[in-house]
């Protein structure tokens, strides 16, 4: 599996009120052709910023270091027509479709606009392609849908329209940024199934960004977990639940209630998730980590290979197989105030 997307040591700083704030620190990940990569994390982890950097959608004034290579080209150096071509090959689907669609224009206008203006496709042909794309994402009677306005469609339907629209430019990579978070669970299952089919039928690669570990674990090939702007773990998706490498991943798995059983008490992680710019020196998860040793705080942790995955924790090897063991969990995790 050759890498379609390679992100190396990506660091992003944003200018906020006169100061530079680091939001991603040295992110490294790669996605192969046809691969689905999950990017999991809590608020401020930098997962959305990573997607924005890949699609070159960062706000003005953002300072970017490192490299992003997509299908062999250096993405960060692109401009003008090359940049437009890049964005056509990397489609983005966001959380809230209604915020990204013009409410007073018909679905057809929205879907065909870039085909007709950027690729000079005649109207009739553009309409046919749009209808085909809607059919591909499981929408009945596409001809009628094309004539409708966004407010006449449900959220789940609209999200499928967004995915269909993204497909029109024949993308190689789909960046799905919390694209099912606002949907009902049954609709979420539907949309995920559609994405799954597309991946198989078209060989589409996918970066699936979510806060939902179960979802990422179920639909992705590999997952990366981010914390405070850094990737702390990358491994096979099915191992995320059963055999996490990093104490943070393990803590997330344990903190989440389980639909199949009632826990006596949830194992909460003390404190709150932080962003890169407010993270402590040394291991960024150290203040919340149940396995922390004094040495962890002393120096930056690096991403190292471990058991066919990668982990950013010097104690990971020593903790192998013990992270989810309840008898191993240190003192009763005090979930006091999230300071």
């Amino acid at each position: 599996m050759s890498a379609l997307l390679e992100v190396r040591d990506l660091t992003v700083r944003l200018r906020v009120g006169g100061t530079d704030r680091e939001v991603i620190t040295g992110t490294t990940l790669e996605i192969g052709e046809g691969e689905a990569m999950g990017l999991v994390g809590e608020s401020g982890s930098g997962k959305s910023m990573t997607a924005k950097a890949i699609a070159r959608l960062l706000p003005a004034g953002a300072r970017v270091e490192g490299s992003v290579r997509f299908a062999g080209t250096d993405v960060l150096g692109l401009s003008g027509a090359d940049l437009r071509r890049h964005r056509a090959k990397v489609a983005v689907v966001f959380q809230d479709p209604r915020a990204h669609i013009n409410p007073v224009r018909r679905i057809e206008d929205f879907m065909t606009e870039s085909l007709r203006t950027l690729e000079d496709v005649p109207r009739a042909q553009a309409r046919t392609r749009a209808a085909d794309a809607l059919e591909e994402v499981g929408i009945d009677d596409p001809a009628r849908r094309l004539r409708q306005f966004p407010h006449e469609l449900s959220g789940g339907m609209l999200q499928r329209v967004m995915i269909a629209t993204a497909l029109l430019s024949q993308p190689l990579l789909l960046l799905a940024d919390e694209c099912t978070t606002a949907l009902d669970v049954t609709t979420q299952a539907e949309v995920m199934a559609i994405l799954d089919d597309l991946r198989r039928d078209r060989g589409l690669s996918m970066l699936f960004i979510t806060h939902d570990l179960e979802l990422a674990g179920a639909v992705c090939d590999r997952t990366s977990v981010m914390y405070a702007g850094q990737v702390v773990e990358t491994s096979a998706a099915h191992r995320l639940h059963a055999d996490p490498l990093h104490p943070y991943s393990a803590a997330l798995v344990q903190a989440r209630p389980d639909v199949t059983s009632t826990a006596e008490r949830l194992v909460a992680i003390p404190g709150r998730p932080v962003s890169a710019f407010e993270a402590p020196a040394g291991c960024r998860f150290a203040p919340r980590c149940p396995h922390v040793l004094d040495g962890c705080r002393g120096h930056e942790q690096t991403l190292v290979d471990l058991d066919a995955g990668r982990v950013r924790c010097e104690r990971a090897a020593a903790l192998r197989g013990r992270l989810l063991d309840p008898t191993e969990s240190p003192t009763e995790s005090e979930e006091t105030a999230d300071a």
Binding site: V16, L58, A62
Partner: protein, 304 residues
Amino acid sequence: MSIPVPSGVQTGVAAEVLDPVAEVEATAVRGGLRRVRLGVLGWLSLVVVALAAVLAVVGPFVRPFDPDLSDLSFAYVGPYGSHLLGFDGQGRDLFSRLLVGARTTFLGAAFVAVVAVAVGSALAVTAAWFGGRVDRVVSAGLDVVFAFPGILLAVVAAAVFGAGLLSAGLALAVAYSPYVARVLRSAALRERAMAYVAALEVQGFGAWRLCLRHLLPNISGLVVAQGTILFGFAMVDLAAISFLGLGVQSPQADWGVMVSEGKTGLLQGYPMESLTAVLCIVVVVSAVSFLGDRLESAGKQAHR
């Protein structure tokens, strides 16, 4: 480097770019008063307005000469000795008349702004709180008053109650209140829909407490902004009304009256009286408008 302003200005940027952490900051503060950077122009405006306000209070006490003392032999004489700006058509000291005139001009405008904002916010909060039929009735009433230009209302008021600052001011306040009410109503409606208002209703809080202690303070930024903007309008309109002879009455010193009385001199080639008064009005109104714009855009941004 700051004055109280509706919040959300500095954090607006952060909301765009940062993950939920910064989003938190931006959504947390909506329409209350917070601090914002003014910039050079803002500071200049603030100084001008403060100076005018001080003059309005102390003007009559620091004037070098009696503003009403007329000596026709000095009519239209230019700057002369301690008479910094010279004399008007009736031989009165111009500088003294400007100092004294600041009071009626400034206080008149402030009166209009305060009354209009008070009436407007009361209507806005009432409409937003009760909604439904009350809202429809209030909104319809506002539309009717909207149709009357302020000056026309002032002319009518002068005809009915007699010319003077009070009737002109009240007429303007009535004419302005729909503008305030309309802006504040939409802000109040948004605030009304906030979960904390519902939570406090469930707590058993009454409408008075909720509106006065919670809802209104949270749109205070916009209220102040509206008042500031109206103050500028009122100053110009009151000057115009005085110019028409329906506001402050000659011989009392007032910038609007001075523009009016100076027109004879203007035609005869002695523009000093009209020009100085107009200049005072323009400078103060520009400063106030600039501040008002700043406050309003900040308030709107915070209230999106």
